[in-house]
Amino acid sequence: MKFLFGFLAFAVVAFAEPRLLVLSGTVINTSGDISAPARIELSIEGETVTAQLVTSPPLSGTGPLSGRQLDGWCELSGKLNGFTLKFRGVLNSRDFRGTYTATPEQGPVQYGRFIFTPGELTAAPTPK
């Protein structure tokens, strides 16, 4: 009986459909005081998260990211466009919001913040 329950539990986890979230919003490079619209697709499977980030000009940064989410804490990273991008923030039912770093192969780290919400891509607000 125990084996049966264990098998069922494993089956539920193993064959559960990953949760897919499509969010859009703004990324703001605070080091350069530049903002841009962006969009991110999150595929959440247990603690594992894979993401596809699309950033519009004037900022760059489009490509896949991966990481984990735990109790709403979500961290993603990936190498794209010659720099390493690292997003860390809180993902809840309303938004995915936090800060990021972009570390180029040469030069100092650039800092930024982001906010993604379910919905259409919006124009970038004036940076503050």
């Binding site: 605070t30 080091s31 109790d71 709403g72 804490w73 690292k86 800060t99 770093t101 100092p108 780290v109």
Partner: protein
């Protein structure tokens, strides 16, 4: 007219001959008269009869219709006139027909009129002089006259002493004057005063109208002038355009004169005078009024309010020139701050001038002259007064005037001292001088008594108390055309504490050469100046000097100065001129021979100079030590200029400097200051720097700055080395340290400096500890907008070696630290004013352990941070120094691990901005996840043993974007069932922060409980500076599960210790002036109520509050919270169809040094349905009591938390009901026998039938009154002190208790109720028949039951078996129970059924 008879013929020739001769003679005479030469001869002859008159001409011709002249020149005393053509046309017919001289036209061009006023005046002193009848009297004519047109132009010259003082031109056009008809002439005058500087602006011009009217005697009766007037400017001084109106009229005895000159609104000058020709007396008055606008052109609009009024009255005897004149004037000036803001303190000044002047013959005397200036609100007076009458033309040989200055407040100077931070106490200046002068070339001011300043006391926050000084001196001043000199022979500065300095000094300047010469000497003692009066420091001064400055050449012939403890002691400081000093001030080059270049000019010696007195002058700072020796000299530099040359290094022993009571560090310091000033070059060097502390830490090196003054360029080089064997706090950690600083700078422009080399290295024996190094040059300086700029070509490297955290122990505020700081490398780069600091690798701290005493706060933690900083730093030096900055501090990838397990993930970006006064947080973006279970000793932090908190804070703390806090807590164990987790709780806080740093927003709390989530919404405001959470809003909820919230409250263990062991902590008085935040910090948390700094009020609006199994609907009420009381009052709601209400107050008095709170409360439910209470626990059971009941309960409790108060609460309660039902349910009701008995079947015995009737009575017994009183103890046990049911036939009275049974609602707890029953009427008959009652009724008519009984069961479902067992005994007479009785009844029933089934015998 008569007709004559004709004469005889011969006789008739004579008349003809005579007539002919006469005519011929007349014709000849006429012909001769018409001859210009004859006319000229005749004219000269006529004019020659007037003394001093003279006429010359080239040609003159007088004809019947007029006069023509050319080259006419006329002279009379004081007047010389000449003209080019002069033409006069008259109408002779009018002369003969009307005896009127009618001049049709006068035309004279290029008239030159030279007036010498000095010669013009009549010899009034001469008694023989003709009396002056008036100006208009001069213009009398012997016959009627008229002038049709006149056109005159020319120039006028006014001369004095043989020189032209004024030249000008004039033009006069007009006419139309005749007897009875006034004439009008337009005039233009332009005068050029040679007294003014050359230029177009020195002209006086006037244009206007002259009107003349005749009197009956063919003279001029009235002359008026009305015209504008433009006065010349003198430098910047321009008077407003003026208007001149004058009137000269004849009177019966002479003439009157009035004249008014107005200069806009700035000034008015009025003249009124009367000439009494009969007495030859001219009397009059001149008045003047002017205000400050007269001087607007000179001083601008920033003028004080000022006005001047003056009156001159005079009386002039025109016969002998005797004159009496009196002058009086007043002046009023105020608002001096308009000139200079610092003059605001100067009083309004009022001036008064009076003077009297007489002239008798040649004797002219000023008999009186007094000018006084007084303060309006002060006693300040300045007065100049004549001491004797004087003739301004002949100065007396003795002093004739006195100048007095009395009570002039010195504190008027305070506004000028504001920036220095010192102010003068009230004091005044007094002095008096006599004035002697020859009135032309020299004047001497001689003191009549010593002038005094005093008492002078300087006060200021930044300076110590200084002695009160009084100054007296007798300055004598001589002013002459060649020299100005001031001699002060007796300057004395003294205090009451023995300070006294005397000096003699003299300053003079020669007018011709400008040479300034000064000499003097000073000596005295100032024991209380340096170190104050309490601990005097003897200080004796003496010095002499003699210097001359002429043609940019300074010649210092003598100079020496010494300061020492006593007159015969070695000077602490001395300056000695060793040879005459000759300096070209223009080039700042000494005039010296080559041989003199190696000789010292001025020698400075320092010896045993104590320095502790400096502390007396620096608040919060303490300096001590002695400048033991030092000698330097000024001498010519090798080529030119000067050198400040070190002879003996300056040595300071035990030199220490401490700020605000910090422990001073005595140092032995040696420096050799040197400087060279060579024309355009100034080089300053600190050589041989050697600083040694008591621990043998030593700093050596030097500094050289070499500048070119004209280009403001230069270089600087710093080289410092430190040998630091025992640096505080590092000796045991790093051991001996060596440090070196190397830097080279050069100017790129006058404002930008380039750093060619910069490195700071700190090493210990193991290698580098900290390094700051610029791999490439960087620049810094001021931009053209005076902003500080800093730019790097490559980032400046900051490298830190790893070090143990124990090194931070001295700064850890009592915490015990251990662990290591891993090596780190940071980079600082900048572009103009944007700075960025980045860590090359994460900052890592391993094995962190933090303890406070025995309490382990952080054991064996590992912390990793990626720090960063973006900063825009704006520092502007002009026009005022200002600093502003904004930036963002980053802490990313923050990871806190315990034992390799992640306890905290955090990312923080904190924006900030500020200036030199304040720094304010701006933007915040924080995301964090915390796992409580990883934290060791988590309960000591007041946290549950496990749980995950995910939170983020985003928003602008100063701007418009709201701040949002979202947090979710999951996985918190239920304290009642630790294996089970409480539902997740989610809190959202959204609001804004005002400029006053008050956060105002809404809170949304959701506890995801089942079957319905708990929700709470309310608004809060929090003062982020003072602290404290303020609530003033509604508290709204659709559903509030009190049990869930209580479970969460229980999940967080109280951080306060138990009240009994709470240490007593002094509490600041509530009325003390410290802020709430300060009080909070100062007091132990136990002194605060458990709601801490929460204050305000909630208006409750709760749809449903459930505390399973109980529920209150539509709860209203108000919660007021202050720093001592939490007051929940005016509660209302619906519970069990009754009206629920009450209030609760928790008090934590001020001064309570324990964590104890006192709770008192009152709750009531009115007219609730008791049956529903039972049914909440026993839904399928009829309630034992069914009535509308009022319940009142008074609660009290003591505890250190809300949960504790609830758990320890005690309540006195009362239950009152009327007209209900009591159901004493029948045990074994499911038995047929019970039903049979209950049904009163006739088959049963009479006893059972009686019992049946009794059961019916008890099954639903109407109750008139129900009353239960009791107490719920703090332990939870309920005691029933009075249990009274009163019905028409039965009365139940009892006592009992409901013991505590954990986790069970009251209705389901065990009941122990001992009851006494009394009955009457039918029930008494039944029970009496069962022998259960006393025979005698009580006073109330009821008969008491002989034996009490005790009910058990549950409070909501009492077990009535003991009562029925009693009945059973009464019925059966045995000791059996109700069950036994019913089985007997059953048996009896069976028997009766069996008997009925058998056929009758």
């Amino acid at each position: 007219m008569s007709r004559q008879n004709p004469a005889p013929r011969p006789r008739r020739r004579w008349p003809w001959i005579f007539a002919g001769g006469f005519l011929l003679g007349g014709a000849v005479a006429l012909g001769l008269l018409l001859t210009p030469a004859v006319q000229g001869w005749l004219l000269r002859r006529v004019l020659a009869t007037q003394a001093g008159w003279r006429l010359d001409f080239e040609r003159i011709g007088v004809g019947p219709t007029g006069l023509d002249a050319r080259g006419l020149a006329f002279a009379m005393p004081g007047i010389e006139a000449s003209t080019a053509p002069l033409s006069v046309r008259v109408a002779p017919s009018r002369l003969f027909s009307r005896r009127e001289l009618r001049v049709e036209q006068i035309e004279a061009r290029k008239i030159r009129l030279v007036v010498t006023p000095a010669q013009l005046a009549p010899a009034t002193s001469s008694p023989s002089a003709a009396p002056f009848d008036g100006l208009l009297r001069l213009l009398q004519a012997p016959l009627p006259w008229a002038l049709d047109t006149a056109h005159l132009d020319g120039e006028i010259v006014v001369r004095d002493a043989g020189q032209s003082r004024l030249t000008g031109s004039f033009s006069l056009r007009g006419g139309g004057i005749s007897a009875g008809t006034p004439g009008e002439f337009k005039y233009e005058i332009s005068a050029d005063s040679l007294l003014l500087p050359p230029g177009p602006d020195r002209q006086l011009t006037s244009t206007g109208t002259v009107r003349l009217s005749q009197d009956r005697d063919h003279g001029i009766a009235r002359l008026t002038v009305d015209g504008d007037l433009h006065l010349p400017r003198y430098g910047q001084f321009v008077l407003p355009a003026g208007r001149l109106q004058s009137d000269v009229s004849t009177t019966a005895t002479g003439e009157t004169y009035t004249s008014r000159l107005t200069l806009g609104t700035a000034a008015t000058l009025d003249l009124t005078a009367t000439l009494d020709a009969t007495k030859s007396m001219l009397t009059g008055r001149v008045t003047l009024h002017a205000d400050q606008s007269v001087a607007v052109s000179l001083l601008g609009e920033r003028l004080p309010r000022a006005s001047a009024d003056g009156t001159l009255t005079f009386s002039l005897n025109l016969r002998n020139g005797d004159l009496d004149a009196a002058l009086s004037g007043d002046f009023d000036g105020r608002d001096w701050e308009k000139i200079l803001p610092q003059l605001a303190a100067v009083d309004a000044l009022k001036g008064r001038l009076t003077a009297a002047l007489t002239r008798r013959g040649d004797a002219l005397k000023i008999n009186e002259l007094t000018a006084t200036l007084r303060g309006e609100n002060t006693d300040a007076i300045a007065r100049v007064a004549l001491m004797q009458p004087i003739d301004p033309r002949h100065a007396p040989t003795t002093p004739f005037a006195q100048l007095t200055l009395e009570h002039w407040p010195i504190e008027w100077a305070n506004p000028f001292l504001t920036d220095t931070g010192v102010q003068l106490a009230p004091a005044e200046f007094n002095g008096a001088w006599s004035l002697a002068s020859d009135l032309s070339a020299s004047a001497t001011l001689t003191p009549q008594r010593p002038a005094t300043f005093g008492p002078i006391q300087l006060r200021g926050e930044k300076i110590p108390a200084l002695p009160v000084l009084n100054v007296s001196f007798s300055p004598r001043a001589e002013i002459s055309a060649t020299r100005f000199a001031v001699d002060v022979p007796d300057l004395t500065v003294a205090s009451a504490n023995g300070d006294r300095v005397e000096a003699r000094l003299a300053v003079s300047q020669e007018t011709a050469t400008g040479a300034l010469q000064t000499r003097g000497e000073i000596s005295g003692s100032l024991p209380t100046v340096l170190n104050g009066a309490e601990v005097p420091l003897p200080l004796t001064l003496d010095g002499r000097w003699e210097a001359r400055i002429e043609n940019n050449r300074l010649q210092l012939a003598e100079f020496n100065f010494a300061a020492r403890a006593a007159t015969d002691a070695t000077p602490w400081l001395s300056l000695q001129l060793e040879r005459p000093f000759d300096l070209d001030l223009a080039t700042f080059t000494p005039r010296v021979t080559l041989a003199d270049r190696e000789l010292y000019w001025l020698r400075l010696r320092l010896a045993q100079f104590p320095l502790a007195w400096i502390s007396h002058w620096l608040p919060d700072r303490a300096i001590s030590g002695t400048l033991t020796v030092g000698e330097s000299a000024i001498r010519p530099a090798p080529k030119d200029g000067f050198a400040f040359h070190p002879i003996t290094p300056w040595r300071f022993e035990q030199l220490s400097f401490a700020v605000r009571g910090a422990a001073p560090l005595p140092l032995n310091v040696q420096i050799s200051p040197a400087a060279i000033w060579q024309g355009d070059r100034l080089a300053i060097a600190i050589e041989d720097l050697d600083v040694l502390d008591p621990d043998a830490n030593r700093l050596t090196g030097g500094l050289v700055v070499d500048t070119t003054l004209s280009t403001k360029s230069g270089t600087a080089e710093i080289s410092l080395d430190g040998s630091l064997p025992k640096l505080p706090h590092s000796e045991d950690t790093f051991g001996a340290l060596n440090a070196s600083l190397r830097a080279k700078f050069h100017t790129i422009s006058t404002r930008i400096v380039g750093a060619d080399e910069f490195s700071l290295r700190v090493n210990n024996a193991a290698g580098p500890l900290a390094t700051i190094e610029a791999p490439e040059p960087f620049i810094f300086g001021l931009s053209n907008t005076d902003m500080v700029v800093f730019s790097t070509l490559a980032p400046i490297q900051l490298k830190l070696a790893g070090f143990p955290l124990t090194w931070l122990q001295p700064w850890s505020d009592g915490l015990t630290l251990s662990g290591t700081f891993a090596p780190a490398e940071l980079q600082l780069s900048s572009a103009i004013n944007r700075y960025s600091l980045r860590s090359v690798t994460p900052v890592q701290l391993d094995g962190i352990s933090v303890r406070r005493g025995d309490l382990q706060l952080l054991p064996a933690a590992s912390l990793r941070i990626q720090p960063g900083l973006d900063l825009t730093f704006i520092c502007v030096t002009k026009p005022t120094f200002q600093v502003a900055y904004m930036g963002t501090a980053h802490a990313t990838d923050v990871q806190l691990d315990f034992g390799g397990r992640r306890a905290l993930d955090l990312d923080l970006a904190l924006g900030f901005k500020g200036n030199d006064q304040i720094t304010l947080p701006d933007l915040i973006n924080l995301s964090a996840r915390t796992d409580f279970s990883i934290f060791p000793h988590v309960s000591s932090l007041g946290l549950p043993p496990r749980g995950t908190l995910v939170a983020r804070i985003n928003g602008e703390l100063l701007g418009t974007e709201p701040v949002e806090l979202w947090t979710q807590l999951t996985g918190v164990p239920d304290t009642e069932n630790p294996k089970q987790n409480l539902p997740p709780i989610e809190l959202t806080l959204l609001g804004k922060i005002s400029r006053e740093q008050v956060f105002t927003g809404g809170v949304d709390l959701v506890v995801a409980g089942a079957p319905q989530p708990t929700d709470l919404k309310f608004d809060v405001s929090m003062n982020l500076i003072e602290g404290g959470l303020k609530i003033t809003s509604g508290l709204r909820s659709q559903f509030l599960d009190g049990a869930a919230l209580l479970a969460y409250a229980r999940a967080f263990p109280p951080s306060a210790p138990a009240p009994a062991v709470t240490p007593a902590t002094p509490v600041p008085r509530s009325d003390s002036p410290v802020s709430t935040r300060t009080r909070v910090r100062a007091a132990n948390y136990a002194t605060l109520p458990f709601w801490s700094e929460l204050t305000g009020s909630f208006d409750l609006d709760l749809r449903a509050v459930q505390f399973a199994p109980y529920r209150i609907d539509r709860v209203r009420g108000r919660l007021d919270v202050d720093d001592t009381t939490l007051d929940l009052h005016d509660l209302s709601g619906e519970m069990f169809a009754g009206r629920w209400g009450g209030g609760l107050k928790i008090v934590h008095p001020r001064g309570n040094t324990t964590a104890e709170h006192n709770l008192s409360g009152e709750f009531h439910i009115e007219q609730f349905e008791s049956a529903r209470v039972v049914q909440t626990v026993f839904p399928n059971q009829l309630a034992s009591v069914d009535a509308r009941i009022d319940v009142r309960a008074n609660l009290t409790s003591t505890g250190n938390s809300f949960v504790s108060l609830i758990d320890h609460s005690a309540a006195d309660f009362s239950v009152d009901g009327r007209n209900g039902l009591v159901r004493l349910s029948v045990p074994k009701a499911d038995l047929v026998s019970t039903a049979a008995v209950f049904g009163g079947t006739v088959l049963l015995s009479p006893e059972l039938r009686a019992l049946g009737r009794l059961l019916k009575k008890f099954a639903e017994m109407p109750v008139d009154q129900i009353r239960i009183t009791g107490r719920r103890a703090a332990t939870g046990e309920v005691s029933l002190n009075e249990f009274r049911f009163e019905s028409p036939q039965a009365r139940l009275l009892g006592r009992g208790r409901i013991p505590l049974e954990a986790e069970q609602p009251l209705m389901n707890r065990p009941l122990e109720l001992s009851l006494e029953l009394a009955a009457k009427d039918e029930l008494a008959v039944i029970l009496g028949g069962m022998s259960l009652l006393e025979k005698k009724p009580r006073a109330d008519g009821f008969r008491a039951m002989r034996q009490p009984f005790t009910l058990g069961g549950r409070a909501g479902s009492p077990d009535t078996a003991p009562l029925y067992d009693l009945f059973a005994k009464a019925v059966s007479g045995s000791s059996g129970t109700w069950g036994f009785l019913m089985r007997k009844a059953q048996t009896e029933l069976e028997k009766k059924k069996t008997a009925a089934a058998k056929p009758a015998p």
